[in-house]
Symmetry: C2
Subunit: 187 residues, 2 copies
DNA sequence: CTCAAATAAGACAAAATTGTCTCAGATATC
DNA sequence: GATATCTGAGACAATTTTGTCTTATTTGAG
Protein backbone atom coordinates (compact mmCIF):
# COMPACT_ATOMS: atom_id res chain seq x y z
CA UNK A 1 0.00 0.00 0.00
CA UNK A 2 1.48 3.28 -1.15
CA UNK A 3 2.23 5.94 1.46
CA UNK A 4 0.23 8.28 -0.72
CA UNK A 5 -3.00 6.53 0.27
CA UNK A 6 -4.97 9.30 1.91
CA UNK A 7 -6.13 9.06 5.53
CA UNK A 8 -9.81 9.35 6.43
CA UNK A 9 -9.35 12.99 7.40
CA UNK A 10 -7.42 13.75 4.23
CA UNK A 11 -10.25 12.12 2.25
CA UNK A 12 -12.83 14.34 3.94
CA UNK A 13 -10.70 17.41 3.31
CA UNK A 14 -10.24 16.49 -0.35
CA UNK A 15 -14.01 16.42 -0.73
CA UNK A 16 -14.13 20.12 0.17
CA UNK A 17 -10.83 21.19 -1.34
CA UNK A 18 -11.18 19.63 -4.78
CA UNK A 19 -13.94 21.88 -6.11
CA UNK A 20 -12.14 24.96 -4.75
CA UNK A 21 -8.85 24.03 -6.41
CA UNK A 22 -10.51 22.92 -9.63
CA UNK A 23 -12.33 26.26 -9.86
CA UNK A 24 -9.19 28.36 -9.32
CA UNK A 25 -5.97 26.33 -9.52
CA UNK A 26 -3.78 29.40 -9.17
CA UNK A 27 -5.23 30.57 -5.86
CA UNK A 28 -2.93 30.89 -2.84
CA UNK A 29 -3.21 28.43 0.04
CA UNK A 30 -4.69 31.20 2.16
CA UNK A 31 -7.43 31.75 -0.39
CA UNK A 32 -8.04 28.00 -0.85
CA UNK A 33 -8.30 27.42 2.91
CA UNK A 34 -10.66 30.38 3.28
CA UNK A 35 -12.98 29.20 0.52
CA UNK A 36 -12.91 25.66 1.91
CA UNK A 37 -13.79 26.99 5.35
CA UNK A 38 -10.73 25.59 7.12
CA UNK A 39 -7.53 27.01 8.59
CA UNK A 40 -4.26 27.18 6.68
CA UNK A 41 -2.59 25.38 9.59
CA UNK A 42 -5.02 22.50 9.12
CA UNK A 43 -3.95 22.27 5.48
CA UNK A 44 -0.32 21.93 6.60
CA UNK A 45 -1.27 19.41 9.27
CA UNK A 46 -2.66 17.08 6.62
CA UNK A 47 -0.60 17.95 3.54
CA UNK A 48 3.15 18.52 3.71
CA UNK A 49 3.15 21.27 1.07
CA UNK A 50 1.11 22.89 -1.66
CA UNK A 51 2.55 20.38 -4.12
CA UNK A 52 1.50 17.52 -1.83
CA UNK A 53 -2.04 18.89 -1.74
CA UNK A 54 -2.19 19.28 -5.51
CA UNK A 55 -0.89 15.74 -5.94
CA UNK A 56 -3.45 14.38 -3.45
CA UNK A 57 -6.27 16.09 -5.33
CA UNK A 58 -4.98 14.68 -8.61
CA UNK A 59 -4.57 11.14 -7.24
CA UNK A 60 -8.05 11.37 -5.76
CA UNK A 61 -9.41 12.30 -9.18
CA UNK A 62 -7.67 9.31 -10.69
CA UNK A 63 -9.04 7.00 -7.99
CA UNK A 64 -12.56 8.35 -8.56
CA UNK A 65 -12.22 7.72 -12.29
CA UNK A 66 -10.96 4.17 -11.66
CA UNK A 67 -13.88 3.58 -9.29
CA UNK A 68 -16.38 4.77 -11.91
CA UNK A 69 -14.77 2.57 -14.56
CA UNK A 70 -14.84 -0.50 -12.31
CA UNK A 71 -18.50 0.06 -11.42
CA UNK A 72 -19.42 0.10 -15.11
CA UNK A 73 -17.31 -2.96 -15.93
CA UNK A 74 -19.00 -5.25 -13.38
CA UNK A 75 -22.34 -4.60 -15.07
CA UNK A 76 -21.18 -6.46 -18.21
CA UNK A 77 -23.13 -4.13 -20.51
CA UNK A 78 -22.84 -3.95 -24.27
CA UNK A 79 -20.46 -1.27 -25.51
CA UNK A 80 -23.11 1.37 -26.12
CA UNK A 81 -24.84 0.94 -22.75
CA UNK A 82 -21.41 0.88 -21.10
CA UNK A 83 -20.57 4.27 -22.63
CA UNK A 84 -23.81 5.78 -21.35
CA UNK A 85 -23.30 4.30 -17.88
CA UNK A 86 -19.69 5.52 -17.90
CA UNK A 87 -20.75 9.08 -18.83
CA UNK A 88 -23.39 9.05 -16.08
CA UNK A 89 -20.70 8.26 -13.55
CA UNK A 90 -17.86 10.48 -14.74
CA UNK A 91 -19.71 13.68 -15.68
CA UNK A 92 -20.18 14.60 -11.98
CA UNK A 93 -16.38 14.26 -11.70
CA UNK A 94 -15.80 16.53 -14.69
CA UNK A 95 -14.05 19.33 -12.80
CA UNK A 96 -11.48 16.93 -11.40
CA UNK A 97 -10.33 15.68 -14.79
CA UNK A 98 -10.18 19.19 -16.10
CA UNK A 99 -8.01 20.03 -13.12
CA UNK A 100 -5.71 17.11 -14.02
CA UNK A 101 -5.40 18.44 -17.53
CA UNK A 102 -4.62 22.06 -16.69
CA UNK A 103 -2.51 21.82 -13.53
CA UNK A 104 1.19 21.45 -14.48
CA UNK A 105 2.16 20.28 -10.98
CA UNK A 106 -0.23 17.38 -11.52
CA UNK A 107 0.57 16.28 -15.06
CA UNK A 108 4.31 16.68 -14.54
CA UNK A 109 4.32 14.23 -11.60
CA UNK A 110 5.56 10.81 -12.80
CA UNK A 111 3.12 8.81 -10.65
CA UNK A 112 0.17 10.81 -11.89
CA UNK A 113 1.40 10.83 -15.48
CA UNK A 114 1.74 7.03 -15.34
CA UNK A 115 -1.76 6.55 -13.92
CA UNK A 116 -3.23 8.99 -16.41
CA UNK A 117 -1.52 7.21 -19.32
CA UNK A 118 -2.94 3.89 -18.08
CA UNK A 119 -6.43 5.38 -17.97
CA UNK A 120 -6.00 6.76 -21.46
CA UNK A 121 -4.92 3.31 -22.65
CA UNK A 122 -8.02 1.75 -21.07
CA UNK A 123 -10.20 4.37 -22.73
CA UNK A 124 -8.52 3.58 -26.05
CA UNK A 125 -9.26 -0.12 -25.60
CA UNK A 126 -12.88 0.74 -24.85
CA UNK A 127 -13.04 2.87 -28.02
CA UNK A 128 -11.79 -0.15 -29.98
CA UNK A 129 -14.70 -2.10 -28.50
CA UNK A 130 -17.13 0.67 -29.49
CA UNK A 131 -15.80 0.57 -33.05
CA UNK A 132 -15.95 -3.22 -33.26
CA UNK A 133 -19.54 -3.15 -32.05
CA UNK A 134 -20.40 -0.54 -34.67
CA UNK A 135 -21.21 2.31 -32.27
CA UNK A 136 -18.31 4.40 -33.55
CA UNK A 137 -17.37 4.49 -37.23
CA UNK A 138 -14.02 2.87 -37.99
CA UNK A 139 -12.90 5.84 -40.08
CA UNK A 140 -12.92 8.22 -37.08
CA UNK A 141 -9.42 8.60 -35.61
CA UNK A 142 -9.21 7.14 -32.13
CA UNK A 143 -7.42 10.27 -30.94
CA UNK A 144 -10.43 12.34 -31.92
CA UNK A 145 -12.86 10.05 -30.08
CA UNK A 146 -10.70 10.23 -26.95
CA UNK A 147 -10.39 13.99 -26.92
CA UNK A 148 -14.07 14.45 -27.80
CA UNK A 149 -15.12 12.24 -24.86
CA UNK A 150 -12.82 14.16 -22.48
CA UNK A 151 -14.02 17.57 -23.55
CA UNK A 152 -17.71 16.68 -23.65
CA UNK A 153 -17.42 15.38 -20.08
CA UNK A 154 -16.09 18.81 -19.11
CA UNK A 155 -18.84 20.53 -21.12
CA UNK A 156 -21.55 18.49 -19.49
CA UNK A 157 -20.14 19.14 -16.01
CA UNK A 158 -19.91 22.89 -16.70
CA UNK A 159 -23.43 23.12 -18.08
CA UNK A 160 -24.88 21.25 -15.11
CA UNK A 161 -22.86 23.40 -12.70
CA UNK A 162 -24.15 26.55 -14.40
CA UNK A 163 -27.70 25.22 -14.15
CA UNK A 164 -28.03 25.31 -17.93
CA UNK A 165 -28.99 21.66 -18.26
CA UNK A 166 -30.47 19.16 -15.83
CA UNK A 167 -28.08 16.62 -14.25
CA UNK A 168 -30.23 13.82 -15.63
CA UNK A 169 -29.94 15.13 -19.20
CA UNK A 170 -26.17 15.61 -19.22
CA UNK A 171 -25.05 12.06 -19.91
CA UNK A 172 -27.74 11.50 -22.54
CA UNK A 173 -26.75 14.65 -24.43
CA UNK A 174 -23.05 13.75 -24.34
CA UNK A 175 -23.89 10.17 -25.40
CA UNK A 176 -26.05 11.40 -28.28
CA UNK A 177 -23.35 13.83 -29.46
CA UNK A 178 -20.74 11.09 -29.43
CA UNK A 179 -22.64 8.09 -30.78
CA UNK A 180 -24.76 9.90 -33.32
CA UNK A 181 -21.92 12.28 -34.16
CA UNK A 182 -19.22 9.67 -34.59
CA UNK A 183 -21.33 6.66 -35.45
CA UNK A 184 -21.34 5.19 -38.96
CA UNK A 185 -22.34 7.75 -41.57
CA UNK A 186 -25.94 7.62 -42.71
CA UNK A 187 -27.19 8.73 -46.08
CA UNK B 1 -10.66 54.34 -29.90
CA UNK B 2 -9.98 52.71 -26.57
CA UNK B 3 -6.59 53.26 -24.94
CA UNK B 4 -6.37 49.50 -24.70
CA UNK B 5 -5.78 49.22 -28.46
CA UNK B 6 -2.42 47.50 -28.62
CA UNK B 7 0.57 49.13 -30.30
CA UNK B 8 2.40 47.40 -33.15
CA UNK B 9 5.10 46.18 -30.78
CA UNK B 10 2.54 44.95 -28.27
CA UNK B 11 0.81 43.08 -31.08
CA UNK B 12 4.04 41.36 -32.08
CA UNK B 13 4.76 40.48 -28.46
CA UNK B 14 1.26 39.05 -27.97
CA UNK B 15 1.88 36.69 -30.88
CA UNK B 16 4.71 35.10 -28.91
CA UNK B 17 3.30 35.48 -25.43
CA UNK B 18 -0.19 34.10 -26.02
CA UNK B 19 0.77 30.45 -26.56
CA UNK B 20 3.13 30.59 -23.56
CA UNK B 21 0.47 31.99 -21.25
CA UNK B 22 -2.25 29.74 -22.61
CA UNK B 23 -0.06 26.70 -21.99
CA UNK B 24 0.75 27.65 -18.37
CA UNK B 25 -1.39 30.51 -17.06
CA UNK B 26 0.09 30.25 -13.57
CA UNK B 27 3.71 30.72 -14.63
CA UNK B 28 5.68 33.66 -13.19
CA UNK B 29 6.57 36.61 -15.41
CA UNK B 30 10.19 35.47 -15.31
CA UNK B 31 9.20 32.08 -16.65
CA UNK B 32 6.88 33.57 -19.27
CA UNK B 33 9.53 35.99 -20.52
CA UNK B 34 12.13 33.22 -20.67
CA UNK B 35 9.89 30.91 -22.67
CA UNK B 36 8.92 33.75 -24.99
CA UNK B 37 12.59 34.57 -25.52
CA UNK B 38 12.38 38.15 -24.29
CA UNK B 39 13.53 40.06 -21.21
CA UNK B 40 11.34 40.68 -18.18
CA UNK B 41 12.15 44.40 -18.50
CA UNK B 42 10.74 44.34 -22.02
CA UNK B 43 7.50 42.89 -20.67
CA UNK B 44 7.25 45.80 -18.22
CA UNK B 45 8.12 48.29 -20.93
CA UNK B 46 5.11 47.23 -22.97
CA UNK B 47 2.65 46.04 -20.29
CA UNK B 48 2.17 47.98 -17.06
CA UNK B 49 1.68 44.86 -14.93
CA UNK B 50 0.97 41.17 -15.04
CA UNK B 51 -2.74 41.94 -14.97
CA UNK B 52 -2.31 44.30 -17.92
CA UNK B 53 -0.55 41.56 -19.89
CA UNK B 54 -3.24 39.01 -19.08
CA UNK B 55 -5.93 41.47 -20.13
CA UNK B 56 -4.09 42.27 -23.38
CA UNK B 57 -3.86 38.56 -24.22
CA UNK B 58 -7.54 38.12 -23.46
CA UNK B 59 -8.62 41.15 -25.51
CA UNK B 60 -6.43 39.92 -28.35
CA UNK B 61 -8.20 36.55 -28.22
CA UNK B 62 -11.55 38.31 -28.39
CA UNK B 63 -10.41 40.43 -31.35
CA UNK B 64 -9.17 37.32 -33.17
CA UNK B 65 -12.51 35.61 -32.59
CA UNK B 66 -14.40 38.69 -33.85
CA UNK B 67 -12.14 38.77 -36.92
CA UNK B 68 -12.85 35.10 -37.66
CA UNK B 69 -16.57 35.63 -37.23
CA UNK B 70 -16.56 38.66 -39.54
CA UNK B 71 -14.64 36.78 -42.23
CA UNK B 72 -17.24 34.00 -42.22
CA UNK B 73 -20.18 36.42 -42.27
CA UNK B 74 -19.08 38.25 -45.44
CA UNK B 75 -19.13 34.94 -47.32
CA UNK B 76 -22.95 34.75 -46.95
CA UNK B 77 -22.88 30.96 -46.63
CA UNK B 78 -25.81 28.78 -45.61
CA UNK B 79 -25.84 27.91 -41.91
CA UNK B 80 -24.12 24.54 -42.27
CA UNK B 81 -21.30 25.81 -44.49
CA UNK B 82 -20.92 28.81 -42.19
CA UNK B 83 -20.38 26.50 -39.21
CA UNK B 84 -17.68 24.56 -41.06
CA UNK B 85 -15.96 27.76 -42.20
CA UNK B 86 -16.20 29.15 -38.67
CA UNK B 87 -14.63 26.01 -37.18
CA UNK B 88 -11.83 26.16 -39.75
CA UNK B 89 -11.01 29.66 -38.62
CA UNK B 90 -11.39 29.35 -34.85
CA UNK B 91 -9.80 25.94 -34.17
CA UNK B 92 -6.28 27.40 -34.68
CA UNK B 93 -7.25 29.92 -31.98
CA UNK B 94 -8.44 27.20 -29.62
CA UNK B 95 -5.81 27.78 -26.91
CA UNK B 96 -6.78 31.45 -26.63
CA UNK B 97 -10.43 30.77 -25.85
CA UNK B 98 -9.48 28.12 -23.39
CA UNK B 99 -7.24 30.70 -21.74
CA UNK B 100 -10.18 33.09 -21.57
CA UNK B 101 -12.25 30.42 -19.86
CA UNK B 102 -9.71 29.36 -17.24
CA UNK B 103 -7.95 32.59 -16.33
CA UNK B 104 -9.82 34.36 -13.48
CA UNK B 105 -8.03 37.67 -14.09
CA UNK B 106 -9.51 37.56 -17.59
CA UNK B 107 -13.10 36.54 -16.97
CA UNK B 108 -13.40 38.77 -13.90
CA UNK B 109 -12.54 41.89 -15.91
CA UNK B 110 -15.75 43.78 -16.78
CA UNK B 111 -14.60 44.81 -20.28
CA UNK B 112 -13.64 41.25 -21.16
CA UNK B 113 -16.74 39.78 -19.52
CA UNK B 114 -18.90 42.16 -21.57
CA UNK B 115 -17.16 41.29 -24.82
CA UNK B 116 -17.31 37.58 -24.05
CA UNK B 117 -21.03 37.80 -23.25
CA UNK B 118 -21.61 39.56 -26.58
CA UNK B 119 -19.76 36.81 -28.43
CA UNK B 120 -21.79 34.18 -26.60
CA UNK B 121 -24.97 36.01 -27.62
CA UNK B 122 -23.84 36.04 -31.26
CA UNK B 123 -23.07 32.33 -31.06
CA UNK B 124 -26.54 31.75 -29.61
CA UNK B 125 -28.12 33.65 -32.49
CA UNK B 126 -26.11 31.53 -34.91
CA UNK B 127 -27.33 28.36 -33.19
CA UNK B 128 -30.89 29.58 -33.64
CA UNK B 129 -30.13 29.88 -37.36
CA UNK B 130 -28.69 26.35 -37.40
CA UNK B 131 -31.86 25.02 -35.78
CA UNK B 132 -34.16 26.92 -38.13
CA UNK B 133 -32.23 25.55 -41.10
CA UNK B 134 -32.55 22.02 -39.70
CA UNK B 135 -28.85 21.41 -39.07
CA UNK B 136 -29.38 21.15 -35.32
CA UNK B 137 -32.44 19.44 -33.86
CA UNK B 138 -34.83 21.79 -32.07
CA UNK B 139 -35.02 19.52 -29.04
CA UNK B 140 -31.34 19.99 -28.19
CA UNK B 141 -30.89 22.70 -25.52
CA UNK B 142 -29.06 25.71 -26.90
CA UNK B 143 -26.80 25.71 -23.84
CA UNK B 144 -25.60 22.23 -24.75
CA UNK B 145 -24.86 23.23 -28.34
CA UNK B 146 -22.88 26.24 -27.15
CA UNK B 147 -20.78 24.35 -24.66
CA UNK B 148 -20.24 21.47 -27.08
CA UNK B 149 -18.95 23.86 -29.76
CA UNK B 150 -16.61 25.53 -27.28
CA UNK B 151 -15.16 22.31 -25.96
CA UNK B 152 -14.80 20.63 -29.34
CA UNK B 153 -12.85 23.67 -30.58
CA UNK B 154 -10.47 23.11 -27.66
CA UNK B 155 -10.33 19.36 -28.36
CA UNK B 156 -9.54 19.92 -32.00
CA UNK B 157 -6.83 22.45 -31.19
CA UNK B 158 -5.28 20.10 -28.60
CA UNK B 159 -5.29 17.11 -30.92
CA UNK B 160 -3.68 19.10 -33.75
CA UNK B 161 -1.11 20.51 -31.35
CA UNK B 162 -0.28 17.00 -30.13
CA UNK B 163 0.08 15.84 -33.72
CA UNK B 164 -2.74 13.33 -33.22
CA UNK B 165 -4.85 14.62 -36.10
CA UNK B 166 -4.01 16.62 -39.18
CA UNK B 167 -4.85 20.35 -39.16
CA UNK B 168 -6.99 19.85 -42.26
CA UNK B 169 -9.08 17.14 -40.59
CA UNK B 170 -9.78 19.03 -37.39
CA UNK B 171 -12.66 21.23 -38.52
CA UNK B 172 -14.33 18.42 -40.44
CA UNK B 173 -14.24 16.09 -37.42
CA UNK B 174 -15.63 18.78 -35.11
CA UNK B 175 -18.30 19.64 -37.70
CA UNK B 176 -19.29 15.99 -38.11
CA UNK B 177 -19.51 15.47 -34.34
CA UNK B 178 -21.74 18.52 -33.97
CA UNK B 179 -24.01 18.29 -36.99
CA UNK B 180 -24.40 14.52 -37.09
CA UNK B 181 -24.41 14.32 -33.30
CA UNK B 182 -26.94 17.07 -32.68
CA UNK B 183 -28.81 17.00 -35.98
CA UNK B 184 -32.37 15.72 -36.22
CA UNK B 185 -32.67 12.17 -34.98
CA UNK B 186 -32.75 9.46 -37.61
CA UNK B 187 -34.40 6.10 -37.28
C1' DC C 1 -18.28 16.83 32.88
C1' DT C 2 -13.50 15.80 31.76
C1' DC C 3 -9.82 15.17 28.91
C1' DA C 4 -7.50 14.15 24.63
C1' DA C 5 -7.27 15.44 20.02
C1' DA C 6 -8.01 18.56 16.45
C1' DT C 7 -8.48 23.15 14.70
C1' DA C 8 -7.44 27.87 13.48
C1' DA C 9 -5.59 32.52 14.20
C1' DG C 10 -1.58 34.80 14.19
C1' DA C 11 3.43 35.53 14.46
C1' DC C 12 7.55 34.76 12.14
C1' DA C 13 11.18 33.54 8.75
C1' DA C 14 12.25 32.17 4.19
C1' DA C 15 11.34 32.04 -0.51
C1' DA C 16 9.21 33.55 -4.58
C1' DT C 17 7.27 37.00 -7.40
C1' DT C 18 6.14 41.60 -8.83
C1' DG C 19 7.40 46.05 -10.05
C1' DT C 20 11.02 49.76 -10.70
C1' DC C 21 15.25 51.33 -12.30
C1' DT C 22 19.93 51.58 -14.41
C1' DC C 23 23.05 50.81 -17.91
C1' DA C 24 25.65 48.26 -21.38
C1' DG C 25 24.79 46.22 -25.62
C1' DA C 26 22.04 45.43 -29.74
C1' DT C 27 19.31 47.02 -33.42
C1' DA C 28 17.37 50.12 -36.71
C1' DT C 29 17.50 54.30 -39.24
C1' DC C 30 19.71 57.95 -41.70
C1' DG D 1 29.76 55.52 -39.22
C1' DA D 2 26.76 58.10 -36.16
C1' DT D 3 22.77 58.42 -33.54
C1' DA D 4 18.37 57.31 -31.70
C1' DT D 5 15.70 53.71 -29.95
C1' DC D 6 14.97 49.38 -28.04
C1' DT D 7 16.29 45.36 -25.40
C1' DG D 8 17.65 42.53 -21.54
C1' DA D 9 20.50 41.39 -17.49
C1' DG D 10 20.80 42.43 -13.01
C1' DA D 11 20.19 45.08 -8.72
C1' DC D 12 16.91 46.48 -5.51
C1' DA D 13 12.66 47.22 -2.80
C1' DA D 14 8.05 45.86 -1.94
C1' DT D 15 4.63 42.47 -1.81
C1' DT D 16 2.87 37.98 -1.73
C1' DT D 17 3.07 33.30 -0.66
C1' DT D 18 4.87 29.28 1.50
C1' DG D 19 6.15 26.80 5.37
C1' DT D 20 6.87 26.46 10.53
C1' DC D 21 5.53 27.07 15.08
C1' DT D 22 2.85 28.40 19.26
C1' DT D 23 -1.19 28.72 21.79
C1' DA D 24 -6.01 29.49 22.77
C1' DT D 25 -10.24 27.52 21.44
C1' DT D 26 -13.24 24.03 19.75
C1' DT D 27 -14.67 19.47 19.11
C1' DG D 28 -15.28 14.70 20.03
C1' DA D 29 -15.00 10.61 22.85
C1' DG D 30 -15.60 8.35 27.16
Amino acid sequence: MSDSTPTKTQQALLQTLTPVLACNPGASLSEIAKQAGIGRATLYRHFASRDALVKAVAMDAIAAFDQATAEVKVQNLNAGDALLAFLQKVIPLGDRFHFLAIEPAAYNDPEIATAYARQLQELNAFITTLKQAGFIAVDVPKAWVTTAIDSLIWSAWSAVQAGDIAPNDAAALAYRTLIQGLGPLKS
